[in-house]
Symmetry: C2
Subunit: 209 residues, 2 copies
């Protein structure tokens, strides 16, 4: 399939989450305006996204919840699943591991890394922690393709380089340091200070109006 727009992919993830809840409530069909309402966007946008992934609903009943869930799965997930690691076990790293625990079967955190030898002995929510100098070995051995970066900002750039060298294909960067990755490595994530400063700007502007 042709590559989907960035924003559409984001919404597909949100659609699926909403649809999974619908399914748990034994809802079999859903209209575009219902799905739109659940995530607070417009029905047209839902229909256009669904058009882009080549699915069609029915005029009377809308979209089949099961079918849509499994189609989105075929688009986002791989059959064998992808493995993920968390680099840097501070509060944030731990939060992510715990939050993710058992959430998605096709996207599993299998390893954590930290420089602190104390932490290396531990297992966090079922995920073993390795010393950071074994990054390359463990990533290759386990076939990990995505890394979540939560190390201190000062070492982020260096670790980013190592991750690419180890064969990582996507990095979610939660550090404040901008990473320099090659063309075909996906780069995501948001820095919290920027998020907050953006909020501050809009709160300020709104107040002045």
């Amino acid at each position: 399939m042709k590559i989907l727009p960035d924003k559409t992919v984001e919404r597909l993830s949100q659609y699926r989450r909403a649809l999974l809840i619908c399914r748990a409530e034994n809802k079999t069909h859903i209209f575009s305006h219902e799905l739109a309402g659940l995530i607070h966007i417009t029905p047209v946008q839902v229909r256009r996204d669904i058009m882009l992934i080549g699915y069609t609903g029915t005029l009377r009943k809308g979209y089949d919840v099961h079918e849509l869930i499994s189609l989105i799965g075929r688009i986002i997930d791989t059959e064998e699943g992808l493995r993920v690691c968390v680099v840097g076990i501070g509060d944030l790293g731990r939060a992510i591991i715990r939050y993710f625990k058992g959430k998605r079967t096709k996207l599993v955190i299998t390893a954590a890394f930290d420089a602190n030898p104390e932490k290396v002995k531990c297992v966090y929510s079922g995920v073993p922690c390795y010393p950071i100098d074994q990054l390359e070995t463990v990533i290759k051995e386990q076939g990990i393709s995505i890394a979540i970066l939560t190390v201190p900002g000062e070492v982020a750039a260096t670790v980013g380089q190592t991750l690419e060298k180890a064969g990582i294909k996507g990095i979610i960067n939660y550090t404040p340091t901008p990473l320099n990755v090659s063309e075909n490595t996906y780069l995501g994530g948001y820095d919290m200070i920027t998020s907050l400063e953006k909020a501050a700007y809009f709160v300020k502007s709104n107040r002045e109006m």
Copy 2:
């Protein structure tokens, strides 16, 4: 000043961070291509953003680091500063409080909230934790205008409502639940599962190419 584009505000925050580092290194002037290089965007984009905020550099020396820092400050920050609270003291909430500690003088976390009575007695990195049913009182007393939401997904919608009622003007939502807020409340934040699934999609598509 006319309202700035969303993306420009985001970049201003990043420019400032980069410029603060430059200042610490006693750099007094910077060219657009240098600043661009630091955050991996194009020089044109830097110049256009700077044009939008009405600053002008000099042909020979580029932009004055001090001046640019202070101008960005006047745009993003308010003179008296804004107060921020964190709602939900799990690993993530604690990570945010600690990470933020002392980072910005005009944007300070002054209160935390949690439903768990155990946590309510505690102080996290200098931030006192209040019971969640005192949300409205404390927010009004302290004049808090921004909330960072890290509660469990199931209660996010309800807490979101309460926050608006308490007079919060901006919410950074780190829960997976889409919030329904009124027109003039700023809404930001990203869900980690969506971020990761987006990465998964692009890693997958890339691999197939």
